[in-house]
Amino acid sequence: MVTQPRRETLNWYFPRGIMSLSSNRTTQLKQPKPRRTGFGKWRPGQQNEAYFFLLPSLLGFAVFVLVPILGAFVLSFFRWNLISTPEFVALRNYQELIFQDAVFRKVLGNTFFYALTIVPLQLVFGLLMAIALNQGIRGLELYRLIYFMPVVTNIVAVAIVFQWLLNRDFGVANAWVWQLADATGWPIAPPDWLNSSFWAKPAVVLLTLWKNVGFTMVIYLAGLQAVPDSLYDASKVDGASTWQRFRYITIPMVSPTTFFLLVIQLIGAFQLFAEPFVMTSGGPAQSSLSIVMYIYQNAFEFGRMGKATAIAWILFAIIFIFTLIQTRLQRRWVHYEVGP
């Protein structure tokens, strides 16, 4: 029934284990009591019926998704501060951004820094934690409860907590360095995380990692649990080492999960907003400003609606290209099992 390309798209969207909800369901199907007073009879043409079912969704979808997409496209060719008459500037918003705007260049750099640190770190830590939890140890539920806890918390609240945690003089993160300095008399000083243009970005990365690594771990755990034990047993018989089992069984078997996480986390990391907004306000000197923050600033602080929309489209292009590259490259390293 399902054609090959469609199965692939679904696979990267829902790697093994994640869609576990949809399996084993046939056992407990609920059937309605037959009643003959239904207000409609089976008709071969279901056109009107379909409109009825689609209407609420389609209406909202048209107003809040399709029209805004078109609106965003048009808006990006205008200069407009909400009050003035919109002025048509053709491609000048894009031109300015790409060729002249030094802040935009900086913001791009910051955002790439975020994406290229957060995503690999999350994948590595998430996988390691999931493997540790998958060894049949006791207390799995408790560990998972703790590791996943930051995922459900409110980003504004935890960003404020991290601000205090990373406070230069009184934060816990720096305390041990100060104590070491006091005890030994060495001239060492811990970083002033949030007021240093070098450390502000790592501070944001740290917060993001802490908040989201539990999510990566849980997804990997689902992927790992779908790996058949027989593979490991067979490799043990053949005398494979722990490292070899990790490298030649675990990594390829979870590669669809890795691919899925890579795609969605890159999309997420490129759109980082609340973390720098609350924790550093993008500073000092724009050193932690992200693209989405810059969109926010342009639109709601500088009143440049057109320019802000143009940035959003450039962001879309970046995300699109990265996703495309990944889907192209996946053939080389993502291993889809043709299992039962």
Binding site: G40, F53, G60, P68, L75, A157, I160, W178, F260
Partner: protein
Amino acid sequence: MTKRRRLQHTIIHVLLIIGSLFMLLPFLWMISTSLKEAREVFTFPPQWLPSSPNWSNYARALTSMPFGRFYLNSFIVATSTTIITLATSSLAAFAFARLRFKGRDSLFLVYLATLMIPFTVLLIPNFVLVRYLGWYDSYQALIFPPAFSAFATFLLRQYFRGIPVELDDAARIDGASSLRIWWQIIMPNSAPALAALAIFIFLGNWNEFLWPLVVTNSENMRTIPVGLNSFQGQFSVRWELLMAAAVVAMLPVLVVYMLAQKWFIKGITITGMGGR
């Protein structure tokens, strides 16, 4: 269990406990600070235990801003958005999964294509639209624009397709209308997916920051994240009050999470995008 295996497990437990402490440290530091007196906050080395728990920080934080109202707003917004999303997307998903009509596949493709567009692209035009509709700083603005993602429709359609179509046929022979089939066969049989999706949507909207920040203005319309953000603007270095407010903002979700861990994890993992 062999000796080697026991040793292995001990090492794993030690590592996992270190990791747990790292994950819990911000929470503990938050609670500890929230119970300190103002003069205790700036001490070196940091004190993990306040000399005596000072609950008045909570009273002070809760009364200096209408947190009750913030809660109410977040609750109204998250609940309404969840209900609207589930209702509209399950109807649409039923049509896509079960009905035959002209243009079905191309329309579905349009839905799918919009999944590629990041929310930031829609942010500004939706803001303009909300102002144009006269919805700025209102519940409508907070509720409706986020309620129509193609994602829920897509997810439910996939799930509905897994339900045996023989059930529909049997009901049709018994004279059931499509609406009854949707409500009495498809919906009950999708309960796990619907529950997971509901948790995902509720939590996402409860924690959403950027959209409410953009479309609200008056204090009375703020949701918890936006209210907390403005609280921080007002009490920038009163860490004991800020931490108390942070505890207040997090607590209900954390309590529910501890009680229903499995459902939270399921809700966020099946829907994938939830981590952020």
